[in-house]
């Protein structure tokens, strides 16, 4: 079907406006990250207009931001970066493994109470994180885990209700005969999960991994609660160091520069994973 020129024009207009609305904050962040300190502060406080391009770009802001992160020059950034990487990678691995394993169990094992248990698990999605924040903090303090990455990482190995749900729905659609063929071929449940289901669940795993990565990488609250010392901070917490305790914004150009750097992995990952999402959809459409 061919669209009329008018319909095409309207469509393009709506799409361009929508894209502009989403891209503008990122663009503005990048612009401010390249401004001089005075112009950056003026831009943030609103005393100057919005510039679409920095008149006098300061690429050195990025090196300054890296140097100024944390309390020790250079090392503060490296610490924060490595903490973020370690926490995020472990959380992604833990979430994918545990959620898919539990999803497999709910989809494929018949056991007493499986339906009520599944409903209880879904019910936990209704609980806002704030409700469990204090009890969890008290629990982890009992364990002596405060100011370590354990409270951030260990819960990930106990599954995530939403991703368990996604894995369960996906695995439930896999023909039973595939599982039976694997049983005849000599596999037990763990091997079926590892060798058959996980490879088949690639699209779900891609979604689970990307969203968990972005959520953990950008998470501010949990590291703020559990990580107290500077050398344990993640990037998201370290960013906050550019704002003094009264909310002053004199280093806002550095804050923006580091924000751009922090965001980069998420953007790259999203673009890279998009292919897997699409491939996953195409693969699912063809009966194996």
């Amino acid at each position: 079907m061919k669209r009329s020129p008018l319909a095409s024009a309207i469509l393009w207009f709506v799409l361009i406006m929508g894209t502009a609305a989403f891209v503008f904050p990122l663009w503005w962040m990048a612009v401010v990250s390249l401004e001089t300190p005075a112009r950056a502060e003026a831009a943030v406080t609103g005393s100057a207009g919005i510039a679409l391009f920095p008149p006098d770009p300061q690429p050195a802001n990025y090196l300054d931001a890296i140097r100024e992160t944390g309390s020790t020059p250079w090392m503060g950034f490296i610490d924060a970066l490595s903490n973020s990487i370690v926490v995020t990678v472990l959380v992604v691995i833990g979430t994918v493994l545990s959620s898919s394993l539990v999803g497999y169990a709910f989809a494929r094992l018949r056991f007493r109470g499986s339906t009520p248990l599944f409903l209880v698990m879904l019910g936990t999605m209704m609980l806002p994180g704030q409700v469990t924040m204090i009890p969890l903090f008290l629990l982890f303090r009992q364990f002596g885990w405060i100011d370590s990455i354990l409270p951030l990482v260990v819960p990930a190995f106990f599954g995530n209700a939403f991703f368990i749900f996604m894995y369960r729905q996906f695995i439930a659609q896999v023909p039973e005969s595939l599982v039976e063929a694997a049983r005849v071929d000599g596999l037990g449940h763990l091997a079926i999960w590892w060798k058959i289901m996980l490879p088949l669940c690639r699209p779900v795993t891609a979604i689970c991994a990307v969203f968990t990565f972005i959520g953990t990488w950008n998470d501010f609250l949990a590291p703020l609660i559990y990580l107290h010392s500077d050398e344990n901070a993640t990037l998201a917490v370290a960013l906050n160091g550019f704002k003094n305790q009264y909310g002053g914004l004199e280093d806002v150009h550095l804050l923006m520069a580091l924000s751009v750097l922090t965001m980069l992995p998420c953007i790259i990952l999203f673009i890279a994973a998009q292919k897997t999402f699409v491939e996953g959809l195409a693969r699912g459409a063809v009966k194996g």
């Binding site: 023909p175 005969s177 595939l178 039976e180 063929a181 694997a182 049983r183 005849v184 071929d185 000599g186 596999l187 091997a191 058959i196 490879p199 088949l200 690639r202 693969r283 063809v286 009966k287 194996g288």
Partner: protein, 376 residues
């Protein structure tokens, strides 16, 4: 090669509202070394359940299952040394054809991890094992004409090719018993007939014990050394295909085996004649009066002139010309009858013609009343 013996095997499911559903009811069956045994019956007759119990995919409620004389009721599927070919092939979609065929061998190898083998100094043994698997896959794929497809994924194959991969996966492991669950029903008619012949040839070459389930009686008759006709969870007849056709054990088998199906009429037999709806025909033997059903195969029916001796007056309802033969549906006092005659003999027959229909008493089958009434 192995024997498979079922003794009084039952399968009972808990149905809705607590009622018991008896899917398989007291099945006794002894399958010999290298025999091609086909379980056939309408859907829901328990044939697939029986096969799945042999495979170990379904628990046996009661009775004994033996493979090669050893009781295997409680043995998991992987330890029974069987191979199962599924109706939808159940190929692993993320593995290539070669990997699919090798999969069962890979999971059974002694040195599964390359690292562990290297550490324990068994790297050589593992390499030998790998080479062995490769040779076996090459052999099997050559046998089935899959050697050019080894690097393709199942989604890139046609239905017939997928079916061959499924068979290849089964024979790669050289199991004691092959189990086939309606493996041809997803193929188109022509491919089904070709594959049927290939399967028969493969069986002769491998000399393997095969248990094969189908609802298609024609497929069953062409493949089977031994035909097991099932209905409502029970074996109705267990004999050669020819015997099931010539001497059906009961009315159900008579109606199920043979295309087109046998004409069966309810009535009474008395003094050498069968009577139904006021029309009598000789049955060739003297019998005490009793109610029963008479059966005659359509190809044993003859068209004769109306009102001939020992014939039934009928009207032609439909004529189906099949080339060398013609199927004629007839409305008669005995209800709708089907006659299959030579095309030449039926050249002049038109719909609504009045004809007579006759058959020789020698070709009459008599059954006790009821759906599964025994042969008299």
């Amino acid at each position: 090669m192995a024997t498979v013996t079922l003794t009084k095997v039952d399968k009972v499911y808990a149905g809705a509202n607590g009622a018991e559903v008896r899917a398989v009811d007291g099945v006794d069956l002894a399958i010999r070394h290298g025999e091609f045994c086909v379980l056939v019956g309408p859907s829901g007759c328990g044939k697939s359940t029986t096969l799945r119990m042999i495979a170990g995919l379904e628990e046996i409620t009661a009775g004994v299952l033996e493979i090669d004389g050893a009781r295997v009721n409680d043995l998991p599927a992987k330890d029974r040394d069987i191979a199962f070919v599924f109706q939808n092939y159940a190929l692993y979609p993320h593995l290539t054809v070669g990997e699919n065929i090798a999969f069962g061998l890979e999971t059974r190898r002694t040195h599964r991890s390359a690292l562990a083998a290297a550490l324990s100094g068994a790297a050589g043994a593992r390499a030998a094992e790998t080479a062995e698997i490769k040779t076996r896959v090459a052999e099997v794929s050559k046998t089935l004409g899959l050697d050019t497809l080894l690097h393709r994924y199942p989604r890139e194959l046609s239905g017939g090719q997928r079916q061959r991969v499924a068979v290849g996966r089964a024979i790669a492991r050289d199991p004691k018993v092959f189990l086939f669950d309606e493996p041809l029903s997803n193929l188109d008619a022509r491919l089904r007939i070709e594959t049927r012949t290939e399967l028969r040839m493969l069986h002769r070459r491998l000399g393997a014990t095969i248990v094969y389930v189908t609802h298609d009686q024609e497929e069953a008759m062409t493949l089977a050394d031994r035909l097991v006709v099932m209905h409502k969870g029970k074996i109705q007849q267990n004999a050669s295909a020819q015997e099931c056709y010539d001497l059906p054990a009961n009315r159900f088998v008579a109606g199920f085996i043979g295309t087109p199906p046998m004409n069966i009429v309810d009535g009474r037999v008395e003094g050498g004649e069968f009577e139904s709806n006021g029309v009598r025909m000789p049955v060739g033997r003297l019998m005490a009066p009793r109610s029963c059903a008479l059966g005659v195969r359509p190809d044993r029916m003859r068209l004769v002139r109306p009102n001939s001796d020992h014939s039934i007056a009928a009207t032609v309802a439909a004529v189906e010309r099949l080339g060398d033969r013609t199927d004629i549906a007839l409305d008669s006092p005995w209800g709708r009858l089907l006659a299959r005659v030579n095309a030449d003999d039926a050249a002049h027959v038109r719909e609504t013609d009045a004809v007579g229909v006759a058959f020789d008493a020698a070709h009459v089958h008599l059954f006790a009343p009821g759906e599964c009434g025994a042969r008299i």
